[in-house]
């Protein structure tokens, strides 16, 4: 075990504080409270962080411009849902089809082991969602990864939509319920623990922890020799090949791992949203994650996490008032006979403001908020500002 540098140590401490505060916050904030939006945003933000990081692995670290993320997320979400709807509810979900898959992991393990067993069942379903997604990504990758740059983007974009079309196809209805939403599967409420009549809310913590585990695995991969090979491919394919790096094998590896986490992320999204409707997983969803990756910095994991949090908080919470006619008291102002609250802050205006903010970021932070550096780098930078003599070579090998 290598000794952590002080900058890394600070980052780890920050993470621990973050997770403890998640548990505390969840006990303090009642679901009816206005501040509950904070918890909801944190939940969605952490799932989006995992999805953004998995996309960054492909687009940022391996340099494969792939746009099929929404399709892979859908496979994960659908797989999770199918394998976790309790058998008793299946008739209510599959209204127009006779369902074929009669397995529900949370139910099996829940009956076997009681409360904690259900968690194991949920975990198994999530991992299965990732594996199924990775398998399909492997098959898609066989033809697609032989293409480069723009062609790859177009092909993956197409496959993302094809996947959605196949899942919505009537012929698949007995498995995927066709275009109808899947629902009633194991949801976030099941993550709460009741001890002595008092219920501990652990939804936010659990979702954030699951995402964090995924992100940590990707981090380990990126810093390993595989990660170096990925970066070498991104920088120069011919030179990488001349170094003996097997291009196709590594691209396929990166593609499958990225898709595995897209699948698990999709499963978490399903848990978060409560229903899975294939129509939501359109190409537009991929662009949201592309936006997060670019916003945070292509090739920076902590950048993607920060980008995801900012994106979710801004679009779901901070700017919401712009749609509903009340924003920081500005709604009372009338300019040129136009009342801001009634005539400007109407449905859709949030997106206008959001786009302007993104344009500013792209203009003034051309390489994203973090560039291709990670958080410990900035911790070091801030610390060296306060120190009279900055220490040279502070980066950990």
């Amino acid at each position: 075990m290598k000794k952590l540098s002080s900058a890394n140590l600070i980052t780890v401490l920050l993470l621990i504080v973050f997770f403890i505060s998640l548990i505390v916050l969840e006990q303090l904030i009642a679901p009816t409270d206005r501040m509950n939006m904070l918890l909801v945003s944190l939940r969605q933000g952490s799932i989006f962080a995992l999805l953004a990081v998995s996309m960054n692995l492909l687009n940022g670290f391996t340099g494969l411009f792939s746009l099929g993320h929404a399709g892979f997320m859908l496979i994960g979400a659908v797989t999770y849902a199918i394998f976790s709807i309790p058998l008793a509810y299946r008739d209510m979900v599959y209204l127009y089809y006779d369902y074929v898959i009669k397995v529900s992991f949370p139910e099996i393990f829940g009956n076997l082991l009681g409360g904690p067993g259900m968690m194991i069942g949920v975990l198994i379903s999530i991992i299965l969602a990732g594996l199924v997604t990775a398998l399909i990504a492997f098959l898609v990758g066989l033809p697609v990864l032989r293409m480069r740059s723009d062609y790859l983007a177009i092909a993956t974009l197409g496959f993302g939509e094809i996947i959605r079309a196949i899942i919505m196809w009537q012929g698949m209805g007995r498995i995927t319920n066709g275009a109808n939403p899947l629902r009633m599967f194991t949801r976030t409420d099941s993550f709460n623990i009741t001890i002595g009549g008092y219920t501990f809310g652990l939804i936010t913590f659990t979702l954030a922890l699951l995402s964090a585990v995924g992100i940590f695995i990707i981090l380990l991969l990126v810093t390993s020799s595989y990660g170096r090979a990925f970066k070498a491919i991104r920088e120069d394919e011919i030179a990488a090949e001349a170094m003996g790096i097997n291009l196709f094998k590594h691209k396929q590896l990166s593609f499958c791992i990225s898709s595995f986490f897209a699948g698990t992320g999709g499963a978490l999204i399903a848990i978060f949203m409560g229903t899975v409707a294939p129509i939501q997983f359109r190409a537009a969803m991929t662009y949201e994650f592309l936006l997060i990756v670019v916003l945070g910095g292509i090739g920076s994991i902590t950048g993607s996490i920060l980008g995801a949090m900012l994106f979710v908080f801004a679009s779901m919470w901070w700017l919401r008032g712009l749609d509903s006619g009340a924003f920081l008291g500005l709604e009372r102002i009338t300019i040129f006979g136009v009342n801001l609250g009634e005539q400007v802050f109407v449905s859709g205006f949030r997106l206008v403001v959001f786009s302007v903010i993104i344009m500013c970021v792209v203009l003034f932070f051309r390489r994203g908020l973090m560039g291709d550096k990670e958080l410990p780098y900035y911790v070091d930078k801030i610390r060296s500002k306060f120190k009279p003599t900055p220490k040279a070579g502070g980066v950990d090998a």
């Binding site: 070498a232 030179a239 990488a240 001349a242 003996g244 090998a397």
Partner: protein, 231 residues
């Protein structure tokens, strides 16, 4: 060590290499000189597996390696220093060196130290992004990166390209040092003067064919070579 027999390479109907045979003995510097478009780079790219030949055979230590993929060829001990350096610009110098040792599973620390001792400049810049270094430093890094795979044969594609004469001299001095340490070198150059002075043996390539062979020093004094390449 390396033997090529009647190698032919096509680029979509155009025959770039029209039956070339050459040999690189162990522990020597062999150079291929020739004008633009003579097919020099194509030969190197074919040996390293980046291009598939349309005919002929390549042997390495009496084992046929024709048409193998680059991965297998690098693991047999042949490394290419690509034309125009091609360092990984956004990776640090150290990361570039580690990427060069990608196929090795053993301890690479002593070799990093060895490369740093060959090129002390790289050690100073170990944390710098490779793309921000000067051309000469990048060429040093490209050579160092290739050495990290512990090659038996190192092929260099125009190491003097776009470098100042003084730095070119440095690079060629380093080549001699590397050979003294047991690495065989196949060198391609347009800078015929420098290449012929360094090489033990030389081949002159013209539009896909070998037109002249001989000792480096011998060709340096040859009237035809002087006229065509040395001016």
């Amino acid at each position: 060590m390396l033997r090529i027999e009647d190698l032919k390479v096509n680029y979509g109907g155009i025959e770039a290499v029209k039956g070339v045979s050459l040999e690189v003995p162990q522990g020597e510097i062999v150079t291929l000189i020739g004008a633009n478009g003579a097919g020099k780079s194509t030969i190197l790219r074919t040996i390293s597996g980046l291009v598939k030949p349309s005919g002929g055979k390549v042997f390495f230590n009496d084992e046929e390696i024709t048409g193998l993929i680059p991965y297998d060829i690098v693991s047999k001990g042949i490394t290419l220093v690509p034309e125009g350096r091609k360092v990984f610009p956004d990776l640090t110098v150290l990361e570039n060196l580690k990427a060069g040792a990608y196929l090795r599973k053993d301890d690479i620390k002593p070799d990093i130290e060895w490369v740093y001792s060959l090129f002390p400049r790289l050690k100073e810049r170990s944390w710098q992004a490779a793309g921000t270094m000067s051309g000469g430093e990048q060429q040093m890094l490209a050579v160092g990166r290739a050495l990290m795979s512990k090659p038996k044969l190192m092929m260099m594609d125009e190491p003097s390209l776009g470098l100042a004469p003084l730095i070119v001299k440095d690079i060629f001095d380093i080549i001699k040092t590397i050979v003294a340490q047991g690495v065989t070198i196949l060198l391609i150059e347009q800078n015929a003067n420098m290449a012929l002075q360094t090489a033990n043996f030389a081949y002159v390539l013209e539009v896909g064919r070998i037109t002249m062979t001989g000792q480096g020093k011998e060709l340096l004094n040859n009237e035809e070579v002087r006229k065509a390449y040395l001016g």
